[in-house]
């Protein structure tokens, strides 16, 4: 058993850290306030090879694994969750191509993502289908030429900035099994009938694009289907078993960044004639943060490492994601507490981190869904 990152992984970690410090830090607050991001930042990250490192070299990626992806995510999120999310979410959903796509789809859709020339998203959630994904009602009806997609999706990352999306749709509503009714299609966002509106007023991660999407008679060719018709739900679950592993590192990065901010603050802030770092109550808070983060990181790396070894474990992945998200929420809470009243204003970075944390317990499998998965693995089905 080896808990140490390889030399190459450490070098990647350091490179990602330098990039984040040099390119992300100074933009973060302004991008949060203006709810925007500079597109050239994505291009830069792509040129340096930080995007989709788990994509094989033949499709333009670095041919590394989810662990390396998680390492990069952590470093970006540590400096700013919002831009960290936007920079790395451009490959979100591309696992469907990797796992189930045709050679043509992989060649067409993967290289631009890794290069930072295109972003994609995965349109799953609907107004009436959140954690209950099998209720998705956006439909794709087969015609002589292909399929026609109608319906709407909500809270979709990269809806307005993505060049294409993987879209989870109902194709076989008559199938008696709820898990055999859906399919996944790739939809190019310049197709007539596609409309996306950016959602404003998001609590956190405001630099990143989140949209509502409307499909009004969107025609897609037959070969736009990713994987098999009717297998969409199973394909989606396999996607989550992967994405959750690295999404856990969102929490690790956010928590680490929050602790870094807290440490900086308590070493400078003087009350009662001494640095507040000298109070045992402060030291206990920092110690608890450090312990939680270490645990979250170790679990996240374990989940990713298992996946990269072809031994992905839904239970470990769900535990890693649930724990990392909880860690982020708890750590950022105490980190803001240590900032006192100053932490309540947006000229302090901790305020932005605080707002960003909560969604980690909601997206990519709400913590309750993770508990269902863990419970089923531990207890069996009841």
């Amino acid at each position: 058993m080896d808990f140490e990152l390889s030399r190459e992984q450490k070098d990647i970690q350091k490179a990602a850290r330098e990039f984040a410090e040099g390119e992300i830090r100074d933009l973060a607050r302004e991008c949060d306030i203006s709810e925007s991001f500079p597109p050239e930042l994505i291009k830069k990250a792509g040129e340096l090879g930080f995007l989709g490192v788990f994509i094989p070299e033949e499709y333009g990626g670095a041919g590394l694994g989810f662990l390396e992806h998680a390492i990069i995510l952590e470093e970006f999120w540590r400096v700013d969750p919002g831009l960290g999310q936007q920079i790395c979410s451009g490959t979100f959903g591309c696992e469907e191509f990797l796992l189930f796509g045709t050679e043509e789809q992989k060649k067409k859709y993967l290289p631009p993502l890794a290069a930072g020339d295109a972003m994609m998203g995965f349109a799953i959630t609907e107004p009436d289908a959140g954690s209950d994904t099998a209720s998705a009602a956006t439909s794709a009806v087969e015609t002589a030429e292909g399929y026609v997609v109608n319906g709407s999706k909500v809270m979709i990352g990269n809806g307005t900035v993505g060049k294409y999306l993987a879209v989870f749709v109902l194709t076989d509503g008559d199938n008696p099994s709820r898990s055999q009714r859906h399919s996944i299609f790739v939809v190019e966002t310049d197709t007539p009938g596609y409309e996306a509106n950016r959602l404003h007023g998001k609590m956190g991660l405001r630099a990143s694009d989140t949209s509502s999407i409307f499909f009004s008679g969107v025609k897609v060719p037959k070969d736009a289907i990713i994987g098999q018709r009717g297998k969409g739900f199973h394909q989606l679950m396999q996607f989550f078993d992967r994405s959750r592993a690295y999404v856990a590192s969102h929490g690790v990065g956010l928590a680490q960044g929050a602790m870094d901010l807290a440490i900086k603050h308590v070493k400078g802030r003087v009350q009662f004639g001494q640095k507040i770092a000298s109070f045992q109550s402060t030291q206990f808070k920092i110690a608890e943060m450090a312990a939680k983060i270490e645990l979250a990181r170790t679990l996240t790396h374990k989940a990713c490492d298992l996946l990269d070894k072809g031994k992905g474990d839904s239970r470990i992945t769900a535990i890693a994601k649930m724990n990392a998200a909880r860690t982020a929420v708890e750590v950022v809470d105490e980190a803001l507490q240590l900032h006192g009243g100053y932490g309540y204003f947006n000229d302090q970075d901790i305020e932005r981190f605080y707002r960003a944390a909560k969604v980690l317990e909601i997206y990519e499998g709400a913590k309750e869904i993770e508990k269902i998965i863990i419970g089923r693995h531990v207890l069996g089905r009841f």
Partner: protein, 259 residues
């Protein structure tokens, strides 16, 4: 143009409260992160820019332990072609010893130009570069903030005091110590890191270099480091900001600052 560039791994000390260790001869560095010396980062970038323009090969060299290899891998990832680490076995070294070790290795690497940083972030002595030039018998320029190659010469822009620059022409081979700001060091890319793992990184034990005891015993030794005692001379200004500002301006005038 073949170039040798010398690099050093140093503790990262920004925003860190430094402590003096128990021996009272060093700063405690165990808990600090380490990075490439800032000046060396510019030297590596300059070497790679010259290589990209003129061809040739870049060799990065450091003296230190296995942990220090990280800065060589960084140089390789940025675009250097090969790297050499001289294993020092943890012996005490000062700039003179390091320069002697580097000279004995670089002497055997055919090159037109040797680059070092002006100084290192940790001890800030600025000794290695110029001492190395002397030992290698190379013409040199220190604190260089611009380089142009013209035929068999190199034209260096040298930073002098008071905002004055000097343009100096040197016959190659030469050694230049590079000032920060001469270029904008590139970020390390994931592709670069992957390529670096396939490049040669040679390790030479310092004992194999045939250096005498005399070469390896530091002629200088740190006896003690300490925080200077608080002294007088500081005047604390209190009151309304406009009153304080007036007082500051008054003091500056009295001290002869032209306002």
């Amino acid at each position: 143009m073949d170039i040798v560039v010398c690099v050093k791994r140093v503790p990262f000390t920004q925003e860190v409260d430094l402590e003096i260790d128990r021996s009272k001869r060093f700063v405690a560095t165990e808990s600090l992160a380490h990075v490439i010396n800032d000046w060396d980062s510019y030297a590596v970038e300059e070497a790679i820019l010259l290589k990209e323009k003129l061809g040739g090969e870049v060799t990065a060299v450091t003296v230190g332990s296995e942990d220090d290899e990280e800065v060589l891998r960084r140089a390789l990832a940025m675009g250097a072609d090969r790297a050499v680490r001289i294993e020092s076995g943890g012996m005490p070294m000062d700039g003179t010893v390091v320069a002697g070790i580097l000279a004995s290795v670089i002497r055997n690497i055919p090159c037109d130009l040797v680059l070092t940083g002006v100084q290192a972030d940790d001890d800030n002595q600025a000794v290695v570069g110029v001492t190395l030039a002397e030992l290698l018998g190379l013409s040199h320029a220190a604190v260089v903030r611009g380089i142009e190659v013209s035929g068999a010469d190199i034209v260096a822009r040298i930073e002098l005091e008071g905002g004055v620059d000097e343009i100096r022409r040197l016959r190659l081979p030469a050694l230049l110590t590079i000032q920060t700001g001469i270029n904008e060091p590139r970020y390390v890319s994931v592709m670069g890191i992957r390529k670096a793992s396939k490049k040669e990184l040679k390790v030479i034990d310092v004992k194999e270099l045939g250096l005498s005891q005399n070469d390896l015993v530091p002629p200088t030794e740190i006896e003690e480091i300490y925080l200077p005692a608080d002294t007088g001379g500081a005047e604390m200004l209190k009151g309304d900001p406009s009153v304080v500002a007036e007082a500051v301006i008054d003091i500056m005038r009295r001290k002869g600052v032209a306002l």
